[in-house]
């Protein structure tokens, strides 16, 4: 039985914290654990956190492996300190059959981090009929989602949400009613109007949120509202939480960091759906982070450089995040004092673990899975296409100096990344 000891590290508050684990379980934590307890010692300087958990990534497999593979996505995750990621089923073919999930889980066994699969909420993501949800759950679906689009038909959605509730799986909803616009590519506001870009109004999200909350009340499903972008959605969600509904709101790094002022650059790396909106939206989302029902999801959406070199109308939506999400959030939210470190870490660990029903992770505690990350918060790095692992280099922060260098990522007791 190999016992490993991590030492030289500190906790959130800067106090020395060593971690001892055996196989994939944490045995002990403390300011000083004698080396004699371990067969192997990892001496690393930095702050130790539970491994980050991302409930919203696109690893593009099967069908779009030129954008990302399970392998490159998992390595990017490990590099960014993520030990568990949930990948979306909007692939080609979409993950709406248990056979597909079984095959993917077989492939995923070799990966350095825990890659989990969400299954489709409707057959072929077409929104007309529900798939074999119980069989999909049996095959390992951790959640159900039609991410990329909203399940518009309220009758089908009702059946799907009720089924998910009975299977004790969350529904990850992409709340955007497409009937609110015609080919929108940017936040509908003064800036898009001035620049002649077709807009996506806040209301397209707000009204989808309202419908979904009504279905959560009807069915009792655990409803996770993905990538909330509009401040007008928030009062509805707060009211539902106050009412006691099992609802969580997802915030993404881009909605926390950017505004539609970036449209002025016409740089398609800022093109994302739902769109980055105004300062009022960004600030309201930042204020939401302390709420325990808020979960960080990166919506990691890798695209090739070639695909992002088209004009604003043609370029695909999405940003690549796994390699640099924590560094970006730490640099731009924690260091300037807008969000405290403990809150950010909780939104990236314990809260997503709860959402996904993964009780064995999300905290550093005896008996929990040995998933951890060590970050040197004082060190800086510059993400570039060469030093990042994701195939998607589509992030406007590429080339910027960021604080927070991941020194070590351990997933299920094994070293997944060491810098």
């Amino acid at each position: 039985m190999a016992r490993k000891l991590l030492r030289g590290t500190v906790d959130l508050h800067g106090n020395p914290l060593s971690v001892l684990w055996e196989e994939d379980r944490i045995l002990a934590l403390g300011p000083e654990i004698p080396e004699t307890e371990a067969d192997e010692v990892l001496e690393v300087e930095g702050t130790v956190f539970p491994g980050f958990i991302d409930p919203h990534v696109h690893l593009r497999t099967p069908g779009q492996e030129h954008k990302e593979t399970l392998e490159t996505g998992a390595r990017a995750a490990a590099h960014g300190g993520f030990t568990t990621v949930v990948t979306m089923p909007n692939t080609d073919p979409p993950l709406d059959r248990p056979e597909l999930l079984r095959g993917l889980y077989e492939e995923a066994r070799q990966l350095p981090v825990d890659v989990r699969f969400a299954a489709c909420l409707s057959v072929g993501r077409k929104g007309r009929a529900i798939p074999e949800m119980p069989l999909l759950a049996e095959a390992g679906a951790v959640a159900f989602t039609d991410d990329g689009s909203w399940l518009e038909d309220a009758h089908v959605a009702y059946q799907a949400y009720a089924m998910a509730a009975a299977l004790n799986r969350p529904v990850l909803s992409h709340p955007e009613d497409p009937r609110w616009h015609r080919g929108g590519v940017a936040h509908q506001g003064e800036r898009a109007l001035k620049l002649g870009l077709p807009g996506i109004p806040r209301e397209s999200e707000e009204l989808a949120v309202v419908r979904d909350l009504a279905l959560a009340r009807l069915t009792g499903v655990r409803l996770h509202l993905q990538h909330i972008s509009a401040h007008t959605s928030l009062p509805h969600i707060r009211r539902a939480v106050a009412e006691g509904l099992p609802v969580t709101a997802e915030v993404t790094p881009h909605h926390l960091l950017f505004t539609d002022e970036a449209l002025e650059t016409f740089d398609p790396r800022f093109k994302v759906n739902p769109p980055i909106r105004e300062e009022a939206d960004r600030d309201a989302l930042r204020k939401l982070l302390p709420e325990t029902w808020t979960v960080m999801g990166t919506d990691h959406a890798p695209h090739t450089v070639f695909e992002k070199e088209f004009d604003w109308l043609e370029a695909p939506f999405g940003l690549s995040w796994l390699d640099l999400a924590f560094s970006a959030l730490y640099t731009h939210l924690v260091r300037p004092g807008l969000v405290d470190l403990a809150t950010l870490v909780e939104a990236m660990t314990l809260r997503p673990a709860r959402l996904l029903g993964l009780g064995d992770r999300g905290v550093l505690k005896e008996g929990k899975r040995a998933d951890l990350v060590v970050v040197d918060l004082a060190a800086t790095w510059q993400p570039t296409p060469r030093n990042t692992f994701s195939r998607g280099k589509n992030n406007p922060l590429m080339g910027e100096m960021l604080f927070g260098v991941v020194r070590l990522t351990v997933a299920a007791g094994e070293v997944a990344y060491r810098g």
Binding site: L193, G196, L197, F266, F310, D311
Partner: protein, 311 residues
């Protein structure tokens, strides 16, 4: 002719474009208008220079106007209209740009359906980029020729009141005119259905928005600029019918008679929709002047953006 140095090496839009630069272009265009009226309307000024017309979206008129402007100044001219590739929708911009760079052209005149394409090209090329229309964003050369036309007619643009009537929402001509007219001290009154003329436009300049085309307004303004109405807007439910649009916002013969100032249109006209046939005979119309002035203004732009060749 005196050659003034413009503050930007490109002409991407009139938002924030300096007043002095607009006036420099208009002054220079006046000189070229005289040249155009001479028996041999041609100058050797840009001999050895190459202008590329890069039109991703067809536009016979604007392209012809640039074409003529370049030829009148003795520049060489290349026309490219990239076709959509079969592999991916649209044209890969950097690919196109690398080809442009390889041709060593001095100026690129670009028209594209997406806002921001000229701005993207300008960041990646040494050539002077001239925006000939980027989606619904800007069409600065059209607005400059409109400003020129107003200035020739009225002597000064400052203090003029100009009504722009129609589909402002989808109009790059309207946006560039809002910026240009405001910079030169004119007042802009946008007229059209609330679906096509959102009130947020008041924030972009010295702008008022009204949703009715009243006779009083036709009497009060110095110029009425009618915009082209595209038939697709009807399918997208922006108004009830072309008949309804024509009734409420069309410049009919009767309305034209009430225009105290001048009537303008960027062309091509959708007769029977935004203009009734014959309306142009009922009032002072500058539509054909706009076309002539377009060549002079584009000559001025090419002249001011392209440094003279040594030797």
């Amino acid at each position: 002719m005196e050659r003034i140095q413009l503050s930007s090496p490109h002409l991407l839009g009139l938002e924030g474009y300096p007043r002095e630069d607009i006036l420099a272009i208009l002054d220079t265009a006046r000189g070229f208008l005289k040249v155009l009226k001479q028996p041999i309307p041609k100058l050797p000024t840009l001999r050895g220079r190459t202008v590329l017309n890069l039109f991703f979206e067809p536009s016979t008129r604007t392209q012809a106007s640039f074409d003529l402007a370049a030829k009148r100044l003795s520049a060489d001219l290349v026309n490219i209209s990239p076709k959509s590739s079969s592999v991916v929708k649209g044209e890969h911009l950097l690919d196109t740009l690398r080809n442009v760079e390889a041709m060593r052209v001095d100026a690129v005149v670009v028209r594209h359906r997406a806002p921001g394409v000229p701005h993207f090209l300008a960041r990646h090329t040494r050539a002077a980029v001239i925006n000939a229309g980027d989606g619904a964003h800007e069409h600065p050369t059209q607005a400059l020729l409109d400003l020129f036309t107003l200035r020739e007619h009225f002597g000064d643009v400052r203090g003029l009141r100009v009504a722009i009537v129609g589909d402002v929402l989808h109009s790059r001509v309207a946006r560039s005119n809002i910026f240009g007219l405001s910079t030169l001290g004119a007042e802009v009154i946008l007229v059209g259905p609330p679906t096509l003329v959102p009130s947020e436009f008041t924030r972009f300049g010295n702008v008022r928005v009204v949703h009715r085309l009243e006779d009083d307004l036709l009497q009060a303004v110095d110029a009425v600029m009618a915009l082209r109405i595209q038939k697709e807007r009807l399918e997208a439910s922006f108004f009830g019918s072309l008949r309804e649009y024509h009734r409420l916002y069309g410049i009919t013969r009767e309305r034209a008679r009430r225009i105290r100032g001048v009537l303008m249109h960027p062309g091509p006209v959708n007769w029977g929709v935004e203009l009734e046939r014959g309306a142009e005979e009922e009032t002072t119309t500058l539509i054909l002047d706009q076309v002539t002035h377009g060549v002079a203004v584009r000559m001025a732009i090419l002249y001011l953006l392209l440094p003279p060749l040594e030797g």
